[in-house]
């Protein structure tokens, strides 16, 4: 009896061990990658239809070759859109694509660069691009091979090094715009036209709106407007009037007079008590606050549009321009590009991927993921102008500044986010807080040189 039991147990163990098929996905378990979204799709497509468009598609056969694409995880819509692009690409070239999803791309990708295991093609965020360009890990791209002239020039410039070499290709762009909950607004007697178009007027409008909201819904239930304490969102305000958060050598100048003046203004908005961060309300991000009906106005990027439509369909909203400050309209734009790893063994295939993903694939990606195309011809194909929300976001490109500022901006941002709450809560004076932030950032920058 005992022997039988032992034999059965052994069989169960053997079967369970062999049932764990060794997939050829790269596991990032030791790097804390909890979402193992790596897919390896090994399809041998039977369909012969290949879309022949323009002169960029090269009908080469890459069957049997594998391309690794490094991405960061997004929401479901993005994942589905990317999967579609991958499927189409595999159908076209016969290669197989493996997606390597990073949870903390900046740290993990650097570790991969050091270890020499970086994916062939990967996302490069516009703000991190200057840093990666100095590391000598990106493959220079030939403008002719990637249709450089078809992209919006300021976006392509974000991925061009100082010597003019292009290292990455922008795959999309997102801008910030102002979202207004029309139901909430009209319930307290305002219309969208009442919302001021300048931030200076907002300082008086927001407390009035807040008072009416408190009256109707109870104190502290709904806030008039949300904001973020993040240079990625505040930069366009802080750099108004020629101010700059970093000097030409990359050192932090958060406590310079120009920046402090602009920050004082931002604080005057905060002091109205009608202007709060999502974390002060106990929620994760603007989209969640807006979607759960806890704020009336928010400034967010176009990525929230699909999210709102899908997850919070009963919120009626309208999208308008961001309010002007000191007489000038402004917004932030965020662009992400594809770059090729210098030590990649599949450079040709990687270039095919870039050509496809920023060409035909861009339509699939942008419509599915909810971002704006970085090429004008794709924008026309997608008929971006037909949807008012998209059209509004597209308009913002004109006066938005890109989220990118040299190699040290992430250090400055960390210091900024570290000390701004103390200034907001009144624990430290603004100039003290920013001076401390400057010191912390500059110490770290100094030591990294």
């Amino acid at each position: 009896m005992k022997k039988l039991l032992v034999i059965i147990l052994t069989l169960v163990l053997v079967i369970s061990v062999s049932a764990c098929k060794k997939s050829d996905t790269v596991s990032n378990v030791d790097q804390g990658n909890s979402q193992g979204n790596s897919e390896s799709v090994n399809e041998n497509p039977s369909q012969e239809t290949v879309k022949e468009e323009e002169e960029t598609t090269v009908e080469a056969d890459y069957s049997g070759r594998k391309l690794t694409v490094g991405i960061w995880g997004g929401n479901d819509a993005e994942a589905a859109a990317l999967k579609q692009v991958v499927t189409d690409f595999e159908a076209k070239t016969g290669a197989s694509v493996e997606l390597k999803t990073y949870t903390d791309i900046n740290t993990q990708l650097q570790a991969d660069f050091i270890g020499g295991t970086a994916p062939d093609v990967f996302y490069v965020d516009g703000s991190m691009f200057p840093f990666y360009a100095t590391l000598d890990v990106l493959e220079p791209l030939n403008p002719n091979e990637i249709d450089a002239d078809k992209f919006y020039p300021n976006l392509l410039a974000a991925f061009t090094a100082e010597d003019g070499t292009i290292y990455a290709v922008p795959k999309d762009v997102s801008t910030l715009a102002m979202y207004i909950n029309t139901d909430l607004l009209s319930s307290v007697g305002y219309t969208v036209d009442d919302v001021p178009t300048s931030l200076e007027e907002m300082v008086t409008f927001l407390p009035e709106l807040q008072a009416k909201l408190d009256e109707k819904y109870g104190k502290d239930q709904i806030v008039a407007m949300t904001y973020n304490q993040d240079l990625a969102r505040n930069l366009h305000l802080l750099e108004r009037n020629g101010a700059s958060v970093a000097d030409e050598n990359g050192y932090s100048t958060l406590s310079s007079e120009g920046v402090l003046n602009n920050l004082e203004f931002m604080l005057s908005l905060v002091k109205t008590n009608a202007y709060k961060t999502p974390s002060e309300l106990g929620l994760g991000w603007n989209g969640e606050v807006f979607g759960t009906g806890k704020c009336v106005i928010m400034e967010e990027g176009n990525w929230v549009y699909g999210n709102l439509v899908q997850n919070y369909p009963d919120i009626n909203f309208e999208v308008i321009d961001m309010p002007s400050y000191l007489g000038k309209k402004s917004s932030m734009s965020f662009t992400v590009g594809y770059a090729i790893y210098k030590e990649s063994k599949e450079k040709e295939l990687a270039k095919e991927w870039i050509r496809y993903a920023t060409g035909e694939g861009m339509v699939t990606w942008c419509s599915g993921a909810g971002t704006l195309p970085s090429r004008e011809d794709v924008a026309e194909k997608m008929n971006v102008q037909s949807d008012p929300v998209w059209a509004k976001h597209l308009e913002q490109i004109e006066y938005s500044i890109p989220w990118q500022k040299g190699t040290t901006i992430s250090i400055i941002n960390t210091a900024y986010q570290n000390y701004l709450p103390s200034a907001v809560s009144g624990e430290m004076s603004l100039s003290d807080a920013m001076a401390k932030a400057d010191k912390q950032a500059n110490d770290e920058i100094e030591n990294s040189r």
Partner: protein, 302 residues
Amino acid sequence: MTKRQKYSKRARREHRQGYLFITPAIIITGIFIALSVFFIIYLSFHKVNLFKDEYNFIGIKNYKRLFTDETTRVAFKNTIMFSLVVVPVQTFLALIIASVLNSNIKGKTMFRTIYFLPTLTSSSALTLIFMFIFNVNGPVNALLLKMGILQSGVNFLSNPSFALKVIMAMNIWSTIPYYMTLYIANLQDLPTNLYEAASIDGAGPIRIFFSIILPYLKPMTTYVLLTGIIGTLQMFDQAYIFSNGSGGPANSTLTVSLLIYRYAFGTQNAMGFAATLAIVLAILIFTVSMLAQKANKAESLY
């Protein structure tokens, strides 16, 4: 002349076999531990750019920087304070709860099971749960508001004076069960005739606790103290999740481990300094542990 030991052939063969058996362990330890330690020590004397494979020897500049860097000072202060508060509290509370649960109260087993649950949860999940509990709109604020202690909700998570204390509370809450279980297991061995003898002598429960239970648990207390010190001085994951990697409001949740992580990765290019910090932390842990061990043995109550 007689100092040379002569091993017989058989003995020598057995020695060889012994070495053969431990060769795998030596290889693994050698690569992952010894080699890493030497590499870290090597790194700490250099300015390193791992991407470009540049190692510039800069002597003890990294060590000198330890004293001038403001963030380092804050990180050490946070870590030491964290350890100073958490270790005694968790040891003491674990002791008391263990001795209570060892006595014959009703529902002993049920309590032991319930109290053990926090240890089974991963610290990351616990951090998120506590972030929710101490949220501005969360249960703790609601309770304090209702009791009238506060006028408006305190944002524990963004307040520099409270952030680290929340993490302390969470850490104590999640590690007490483990130590409590160790103590209970140890207490099972206590011969019951000692209790009887003490009660015959007229000792009340408090006297029994201090004169019988405490001394008996001394070796276990050494272990609890040591692991507590080592664990709290290295605390990283809770601070990281809590502050999203930045080190919290005004650097209040910045621990040395988190600082090492920030310096080693990111756009800092300060891998050499991170190595220096790691070495100093290791020396600190070693020293404190030695001291704790000596202190525990010195007053021998046996």
